[in-house]
Amino acid sequence: MEKNIELKNRLGLHARPAALFVRLTNQYKQIKIKVRVLRSEEESEEVDGKSIMGLMMLAAEAGSRLLVKISGDKDKEEEELMTRIEELIAGKFGEE
């Protein structure tokens, strides 16, 4: 399952948002998650969505689009995680 989500918070994937992201994904031990930034000029590297360093290395700024790929063998859990990721990003990681 994959989704294309726009980063709306002001800071992009800085330490705090990345930490929140990882704390969420790490709750789903059985699920694999990959993230990369969609940039027109080049294909960015795909990183482990459970790695805070990986996420920060994406250097995803506000307004950029993330391609989130989730794979596992329990569809329900995958959907749940995807929804929660979307909520986290749409809620701007709790920033004001």
């Binding site: 990345a18 790695s51 920060m56 250097a59 004001e96």
Partner: protein
């Protein structure tokens, strides 16, 4: 013979003699070692143990910071903790130990450097900084692997003098209650964050010694003279005795001064002034009260905004302000609204670097441009104002229009709160900082728009004489006694008084015992300074008369040069000592 006396910048006064403890930050000597098959699993366990120990250390620091500075400051440690669990770091290191059959120290330090390098070579300054964080984190883990315990400042058994390249905010947070006699650093200047912290915590300190960490060994006996900025390594007996004698004298003077704590700052002929404290973090309120401060004349609110990637919310700010107002009650606290250059908030506001930040977007100018930021702060201050006596002060005023605009926004915010039925102090006083020549020379106009004036002497001197005192080529020009400064101060005080307003001063000048008589004679109502100076200024004031002080002012205003003024002050001083 090795040179044993070193000169640095005296950052915080006091003499201490004690054993040196070097907080090492230098790189480790990592040895490469090929593993035998049976050693591999043991090596991985060692790695996991080191990670766990490091996590425990970080949790302890996080909890401490949490209690001291609030959750927002602690979140960075949360991120560190996640890095220690990061699959890229942990799995990759373990896989490499297995594959390359090399010892964990070697493999791990390579992995860390690789990741740190990715970050430090990024274009974004924020991410580059995170590269340094990763390196630091790696060092912590290596310390634990190598069994070289990183000295936690909270586990010291005996009293020591800390010697370090530089001290991080998390180090200084831990300093207070520990057995630390003083600190000495390679880096830093007189107004660096650590210097200011040391002063307010009353710990003697010398900074800017360049390579002192290479000159001293842990366990060396050290004399730290924070008055003169002198460090003596393994002193000879005679020198030691001399310093012990000198120290005794200082302690005696301190004791005498402490007796003044609860007495008013009143001259022999009955003129009373207020001696209040400048503070940087809420923790300093206790020290201020202990020194006999009758209020806080300047709370720099910047600490709430710095060292973070986002902006502080209204609630967080309200809590901080409320806390201070409660602690200092029934005295008042002056909250200076955000006084930063745009460069310091580039991350949060998207501001650009300026070619001349000192003359750029800073203080009230920044607040009037980014009004959401300003409104949030004003809302927080107003809400906290029910918990004690709070006053607001606008920094970096250069025209009266800025005050009118700021006051207009303040009125709007008050209306908002009224509509929301949120209570605030209706009589909250508002003041202007006078720290530019343009404000000083129009102080009469400005005084009509505010309840009080406060002279920010540090910036007033820099802007008047056009000198950056951090620039060692021209720092000699920085001179509080320059006739242009004295004339402006006198004018501001008179203009304030003509409008029926109180006038204070919150620069370093206000805490200089030699200058106290001059400011007293000019009619200054409130002296705001680092807590440590309060007893000294009080002593000067309690031994003076207004007649004498006014006499000195009359004389020095006629003098043409700084040199002549200094000479006169010295004579007066000697006469007083006799």
């Amino acid at each position: 013979m090795e040179k044993i006396i070193h000169h640095g910048i005296a950052a915080s006064p006091g003499i201490v003699i004690g054993k040196a403890l070097i907080l090492s930050q230098e790189d480790f000597c990592i040895k490469m070692r090929k593993l035998q098959d049976k050693e591999i699993e043991q090596e991985i366990i060692r790695f996991q143990e080191a990670l766990n120990t490091t996590k425990q250390e970080l949790i302890a620091i996080r909890d401490k910071v949490n209690g001291r500075l609030g959750t927002k400051h602690a979140t960075i440690f949360e991120a560190y903790l996640l890095v220690l669990d990061d699959p890229m770091l942990v799995k990759e290191t373990i896989a490499k130990i297995r594959k390359e059959r090399m010892n964990v120290e070697y493999v791990f330090s390579q992995t860390i450097s690789k990741f740190a390098h990715v970050f430090t070579s990024m274009g974004d300054e924020y991410l580059r900084e995170r590269g340094r964080d990763i390196q630091d984190l790696g060092k912590r883990v290596l310390h634990n692997l190598l069994g070289e315990k990183k000295h936690s400042l909270s586990q010291l058994k005996e009293e020591v003098i800390i010697i370090a390249n530089d001290l991080t905010p998390s180090d200084t947070v831990q300093m207070r209650e520990e057995k630390i006699l003083g600190f000495i650093t390679n880096m830093g200047g007189k107004t660096s964050h650590t210097a200011i912290m040391a002063q307010s915590l009353g710990i003697p300190a010398i900074v800017g010694l360049k390579d002192i960490t290479a000159k001293v060994k842990t366990g060396d006996e050290i004399i730290l003279d924070g008055y003169e900025g002198i460090v003596v390594i393994n002193p000879v007996r005679s020198l030691l005795e001399e310093y012990e004698k000198r120290n005794k004298k200082y302690i005696e003077i301190k004791k005498q001064l402490h007796k003044l704590k609860d007495l008013p700052a009143v001259t022999l002929d009955g003129r009373e002034v207020q001696l209040v404290a400048n503070i940087e973090i809420p923790d300093e309120v206790e020290l201020a009260l202990e020194s006999g401060a009758t209020g806080i004349g300047l709370f720099r609110t910047e600490f709430i905004y710095l060292n973070r990637a986002d902006l502080p919310g209204e609630e967080e700010q309200t809590r901080v302000y409320r806390n201070i107002a409660k602690k200092i009650a029934p005295h008042s606290v002056v909250l200076r609204t955000l006084d930063l250059g745009g460069d310091k908030l580039s991350e949060q506001l998207g501001t650009n670097t300026e070619t001349n930040p000192f003359l750029g977007l800073r203080g009230i100018r920044l607040c009037l441009k980014y009004q959401d930021l300003f409104r949030a702060q004003l809302r927080a201050i107003l809400q906290a104002s029910t918990s004690g006596k709070i006053k607001i002060m606008y920094p970096m005023i250069s025209t009266v229009e800025e005050i009118k605009k700021a006051n207009h926004i303040l009125d709007q915010v008050k209306d908002e709160l009224k509509k929301e039925h949120i209570d605030f102090d209706k009589d909250l006083e508002v003041g202007a900082m006078i720290e530019t020549p343009s404000a000083a020379l129009t102080a009469d106009v400005i005084a009509r728009e505010v309840d009080f004036l406060s002279i920010g002497s540090n910036d007033l001197i820099q802007y008047t004489i056009a000198v950056d005192r951090g620039n060692e080529n021209v720092a000699y020009l920085y001179e509080p006694l320059h006739p242009s400064i004295l004339r402006q101060i006198k004018y501001v005080i008179e203009a304030g008084h003509r409008a029926g307003k109180l006038v204070g001063m919150c620069g370093e000048m206000a805490g200089e015992p030699e200058l106290a008589l001059i400011l007293l004679g000019m009619g200054l109502d409130e002296f705001s300074m680092g807590s440590a100076n309060i007893p000294k200024i009080k002593k000067v004031i309690r031994e003076a008369t207004m007649n004498q002080a006014k006499g000195i002012v009359n004389k020095i205003l006629d003098l043409p040069t700084v040199e002549a003024i200094k000479k006169l002050i010295k004579q007066t001083h000697i006469r007083n000592e006799e």
